[in-house]
Symmetry: C2
Subunit: 400 residues, 2 copies
């Protein structure tokens, strides 16, 4: 067969996380590789009541086609919630419902990127976003980071000297993969720079509400007075990912482009899922649910960091996330986490090797750990197994 694919397909590979998840599905493997919320906390009983109720009260509309923008009451709830949590000042008309925030990432690429355009991102950055953008054949420039996230002097240097920067992709709160959060000063400085250069910003914020300690910081969107920030939100981490409900919040000019793109992409999000999520917000207390998640995730984070301290060898570094789902480990420069991963799988423990979070490659001595999905017992046992493997590799190299 002589079928010819589009040029973009040469660069697209399946997400390493998804491929790994397949390898680690064996029950004996303790996997810190995923980025899943804890399923034992899903509000199953509540959703049973709600699904019946939605079909009873509004079944014909819930099962029919509806508007591309999304279900109006849900868009209103999201605007209210953003105004309260992310300190924005938006209305339902600024909101488009998408299939998770992942779809907003794909749309951002589609709306802004021609082949060869430049995307700036944190180094490292969320690989699902990088994969979504890659379909539009951009170049990536990684902005250097430190423990407080993107370094603004480096960003400005790049903007001064680079043509065709079409968008900047950032995760200022509990970043994936590092768990780092930008402090207030960086946010202010970032918005100053952005306003000067007038570059669209994709602010990806699926974890923002999951803060375990310290003060909530205002979103970039809340400081955006030029309509440059496109905010992506999601119910996947604060509620349930199975419904695939997220949203994009942007200025009218930009959002109207996203809506056109949504029409062509799949017409609309699920009519019934939108109503179910909306009804949950009306009848139950989502804030209270999030409090429960935070309590459990904080305990798991604490336990993971404590066990890392006890079980990992000397000479490596890891982050202390103030929220979200991930911590990030850096090994001595000479070690390759992809190589070590093979040994991990043999020892029934798994992480995500860090290399794929760098769009231009070149850094392999790091990996991501997730603490939200595992029970206390598995966290302790898994980190012990991982510690043993790491000690072996660090000793071998030390003796070599």
């Amino acid at each position: 067969m002589a079928v010819k694919f589009a040029k973009r397909m040469a660069g697209l590979k399946g997400s390493e996380i998804r491929e790994l998840l397949k390898l680690t599905e064996k029950p004996e493997v303790i996997s810190f590789a995923g980025g899943l919320p804890a399923p034992e906390l899903f509000p199953i009983e509540e959703m049973k009541k709600i699904s019946t109720m939605v079909l009873e009260e509004d079944g014909r509309s819930a099962l029919q086609y509806s508007t591309t923008e999304g279900y109006t009451p849900l868009r209103e709830h999201i605007a209210d919630r953003m105004n309260s949590k992310a300190k924005t000042n938006v209305t339902k008309d600024d909101i488009l419902i998408t299939n998770g925030s992942q779809q907003g990432l794909d749309f951002a690429g589609k709306v802004f990127l021609d082949e060869g355009d430049v995307v700036l991102c944190e180094s490292p950055s969320y690989l699902g976003a990088l994969n979504a953008f890659k379909a539009y054949l951009p170049k990536f420039i990684e902005v250097p980071t430190d423990k407080d996230g993107m370094i603004m002097e480096e960003l400005e240097k790049i903007l001064e000297t680079t043509d065709r920067v079409k968008m900047i992709y950032v995760i200022p709160d509990f970043q994936n993969p590092t768990g780092r959060t930008w402090p207030m000063e960086r946010r202010k400085k970032f918005m100053e720079i952005i306003n000067k250069y007038e570059i669209p910003v994709i602010e990806d914020n699926p974890y923002g509400e999951l803060r375990f300690e310290g003060d909530t910081l205002p979103s970039l969107k809340s400081m955006d007075n030029k309509g440059l920030v496109i905010y992506l939100g999601s119910f996947s981490k604060i509620f349930c990912p199975g419904y695939r409900i997220g949203w994009t919040c942007a200025s009218h000019e930009i959002l109207s482009k996203f809506i056109f793109v949504k029409q062509g992409a799949d017409l609309q999000a699920s009519s019934i899922s939108q109503r179910e999520v909306s009804k949950y917000i009306e009848l139950y207390d989502l804030d209270k649910h999030v409090e429960k998640l935070k309590e459990v995730y904080k305990r798991r984070r604490d336990l993971m960091l404590k066990t890392i301290k006890e079980e990992f060898p000397e000479g490596l570094e890891y982050t202390h996330p103030e929220g979200g789902l991930f911590t990030w480990v850096e090994l001595p420069k000479h070690l390759d986490s992809r190589v070590i991963m093979e040994d991990c799988i043999a020892n029934n423990v798994a992480y995500v090797p860090g290399g794929s979070f760098f769009p231009n490659g070149g850094k392999e001595n790091c990996f991501r750990l997730n603490y939200s999905t595992s029970t206390d017992e598995k966290i302790v046992e898994g980190i012990k197994r991982l510690g043993k493997v790491l000690k072996k590799h660090m000793e071998v190299k030390a003796n070599a």
Copy 2:
């Protein structure tokens, strides 16, 4: 603000149907513009039971992330159903679950099209597909059609003389917008030509099961022995569109590309919707449900055609669809259905002007009518109103 969008955005406009639907939402308008299934036939009571059952039996998985390919039992049901209805010989491994078949159209564009590549389609063709493809900046060549669909001699002429044909988009069963169906000979001839030129084919078949009369014809996919046909299916027209569950069936080489694209686009279809549709197929009789739809839609088609015959002026033509949702009206060449549409809205009746179904434009004397959504009373009253408007315009022109 100096935000610069991708080049593709200049050509993307909102779907005319969606914009029209907004205009025709007033309750006094009888709209034949949509392409909606009849909501009074949705199995609401059954889905109430099922939604409770899915959450009870499998709640944690139903609300969690899952694999990109889709829920395995649903993929098995779809493969079985295709083998029985579309006469294919496929397994679950040939199936990817998408958000309606619309998402399969977008993915086809993404997988196959570089800027300037050529897409062949029937003239006219489904505008939602044309809009999805347009995002990838192809050229369209419209293959001439007659009452039996695409004319194969014309297709061959085009293939002989055209470079960069990357895919052919067709709807052989009860086409949108014309309602026409390709007879057996055309299907065979088409596959001969395709096998000779080895061009991928998108076979869009959302209406195939809704046949009111005549024999079911084998799908192109069932005649595909070179792995060239990508079959798009959907539960939107035979079940409920609100769940947004469709599928793509293709050879391994091609499907693996679609799966990569799905990962970047939105990770996966809704875990819970997939389980609900799957459970419906297990516990109830989808065939029986489809029989009920066909009975109602056939009656509505018969009534619409009968009323058209009685109420429309002489000198226009319309199709006699053997199934599906649409009939297609052609006016004398000097009339413009967009202009007449304004008069229709003023008289509280609506259709979709035909011009937007031609990707290269140039034909305005036609429109699409939907009969699946309207009650008997509305069909009669709406066609009467439309007949009056048409008579006026045909007389004016005749006297001019």
